[in-house]
Amino acid sequence: MHALSERRITSLVLLLIAVVLLYNTYGQQYADLGGAFSPMFFPRIILWLWVVLAALDLASELITRKETDRPQILRVAIIALGTLVFLWSMTRLGFFLSAVPMTALILITLNIRKPLPLLAVSVGVPMALVALFNHVLALPLPTSPFTWWF
């Protein structure tokens, strides 16, 4: 038995974030106009609430130990990272050029490996979306720096 479980770590992190944010509201130099005029008036109420609730939550996690099921960490990590890279590159490389590898990556990770359907979906769906939005609806998705066509 280990004292650290995923649930306890998440609860602790939530508490720490709240404490840091709350500390921040006192540290920074905001125009002190007093009461309702202060920009920190409302956030402070909310952050105090968060700190107290998160502390209670951490306490309850420490009292009763609950296990979470083992996730397929590798698979989740690949999809999460792939999605982030896609979201980042979408506005830089254009939607089409980013979406094709991301779609293929997700499909392969999820065990869809027959070449024909894999190719058809990962190229076809982004292409259809670009055709629809950029060229039929004139509501353009981001295009690549190479051509405004896709």
């Binding site: 939530l14 409302f42 989740v76 779609t103 979906v121 769906v125 509501l139």
Partner: protein, 495 residues
């Protein structure tokens, strides 16, 4: 207004008028069902087409797309846990669990009927009482708004299935997320840590789609894969039999009233209405124990309320010339474009046009059911795809949708971050609905509280003197909050 109906009908029932109503509603439903496209983008997309039309069809087209998209948002909320519009976030809460249970068709049936009833009633209200209601809405100042939002927040208690404590933590996170960005009173940047994109805060829809849809994709990927599994089984809408409505009429009636009432207050919006109505149903419905686990009452509450808002929002727009939200603002702009001056004299100067708008709105709501059946039938084959394809497609659609919300690259990263954070939080049993509720209601709560304090010179006690409506609302909120406590004490007493 009634005596003008024949003239109004002559305006609507032309070839152009009917074509506009049918096509507009269909287009609205399809666009609303695409995650992120939402009502605002749908209406903006259709706007250029209205420029060449004459007055009545132009406005009717906008209305049809508007009402259709609000309903369409519920389709993706139920089938893939992805709210097409923020106002259908509450629909996910019970709709998706029903779909997972294999009752997707039935869930859509409930939501369709509820949407239709909500819309129809609001159309009738509009027809008879718009000027009176608009005058009534003027009595609703910042202090009353604050009390109303407080009541809405109490629904966090009822949607926190599993752990109330974790639900409350999620709610406070949501309230905090709503604080990020420019201060609504002084304009100072808060919690932006030097990132100027954060000045406008986290985009609501980016967070909603992240924590609901993207986190669901990750949770699915984390579980063991079964080769031929589909996400949900769905063959088309199944209408609930009349007998199943027993005991649910009250929820429906109350939710429609709430939707109408909140719709006429400018700046509150359909998402707020859906959550407040959900909270009220969770408090008073005979089936409240099942809320959050696929209870039709939850669907009825949110869907009838958010569709009733569409009519309600037209009240201040047409009676006072004050747009309640971005969509009604577009409608006002369209009116101006067609030579009609919006404002307090609009209804007296153009009675026939207004009657045509109101009755056209009625017809649009009648069409939601047949259009819903056709559109969801067309979408059904897509849902029979294997889970892997569906998950990839959800990621694509979510990013397209979030991109179209504001065209802002930063929002995409917010969605990605919210998805991963949502995944981690959901793994430890934290419900995501309270987070979204906090984020929807937080900004209005803050500004109404601080506006109230400015008016009363900083006295919170003055909120409760001379504001009877606010007192009633706060009392209701206190009652809501004490319910779980009372239940807890009662259970202790028994044990």
């Amino acid at each position: 207004m009634i005596d003008l109906l024949p003239q109004a009908a002559a305006l609507i029932f032309t070839v152009e008028g009917i074509a506009v109503l049918v096509l507009g509603t269909m287009l609205g439903v399809v666009l609303g069902a695409l995650p992120g496209i939402g009502s605002t983008v749908a209406v903006a997309m259709i706007l250029p087409f209205t420029l060449t039309m004459s007055q009545a069809p132009a406005i009717l087209l906008l209305l049809a797309v508007y009402a259709g998209s609000v309903y369409g948002g519920s389709i993706s909320a139920i089938l893939i846990n992805t709210p097409g519009t923020p106002q259908s976030a509450a629909t996910c809460l019970d709709g998706y669990p029903m779909a997972q249970r294999g009752e997707a068709g039935l869930a859509l049936g409930w939501s369709t009927i509820a949407s239709t009833v909500g819309g129809l009633v609001s159309a009738v209200v509009l027809l008879f009482a718009a000027p009176q209601l608009a005058a009534l809405a003027l009595n609703f100042g910042p202090i009353e708004t604050f009390a109303l939002i407080l009541l809405g927040l109490t629904c966090i208690v009822s949607v926190s299935e599993g752990s109330l404590l974790k639900g409350l933590v999620a709610g406070s996170i949501g309230l905090f997320l709503g604080c990020v960005g420019g201060d609504p009173i002084t304009g100072e940047a808060r919690f932006t840590f030097g990132h100027f994109q954060l000045i406008s805060g986290f985009n609501l829809l980016a967070v909603v789609i992240g924590v609901f849809a993207l986190s669901e994709v990750l949770i699915r990927a984390a579980a063991k894969l079964e080769q031929d599994q589909t996400l949900v089984t769905f063959k088309g809408i199944v209408l609930p039999p009349l007998s199943a409505w027993r005991g649910r009429w009250k929820v429906l009636a109350k939710s429609v009233a709430i939707g109408n009432g909140i719709g006429i207050l400018p700046g509150t919006g359909a998402a707020t209405a859906a959550f407040i109505s959900y909270a009220e149903a969770a408090r008073s419905s005979p089936n409240r124990a099942n809320f959050g686990r696929g209870e039709p009452d939850g669907l009825i509450a949110s869907e009838s309320a958010n569709n009733a808002v569409t009519g309600g929002a037209l009240v201040p727009t047409l009676a006072l010339g004050i747009p309640g939200d971005a969509i009604t603002a577009v409608m006002l702009a369209t009116l101006t474009l067609h030579g009609v001056t919006p404002g307090i004299r609009l209804m007296t100067d153009n009675p026939v046009l207004i009657a045509a708008i109101f009755s056209g709105f009625f017809v649009i709501n009648l069409m939601l059911l047949p259009v819903g059946i056709i559109v969801s039938k067309a979408a059904a084959p897509l849902l029979r795809l294997r889970e892997g394809y569906m998950l990839a497609m959800i990621v694509l659609l979510c990013s397209v949708g979030v991109y179209f919300v504001r065209g802002n690259p930063f929002d995409l990263m917010v969605m990605g971050g919210a998805g991963i954070a949502g995944f981690l939080l959901r793994r430890q049993g934290m419900p995501m609905a309270p987070l979204v509720i906090g984020m929807v209601l937080g900004p209005t709560l803050e500004i109404s509280l601080r506006q109230g304090l400015i008016i009363t010179d900083g006295s919170f006690a003055a909120f409760f003197t001379g504001h009877p409506l606010a007192v009633v609302l706060v009392a209701l909120a206190a009652g809501m909050l004490s319910l779980p406590l009372i239940k807890l004490l009662r259970d202790r007493g028994k044990a």
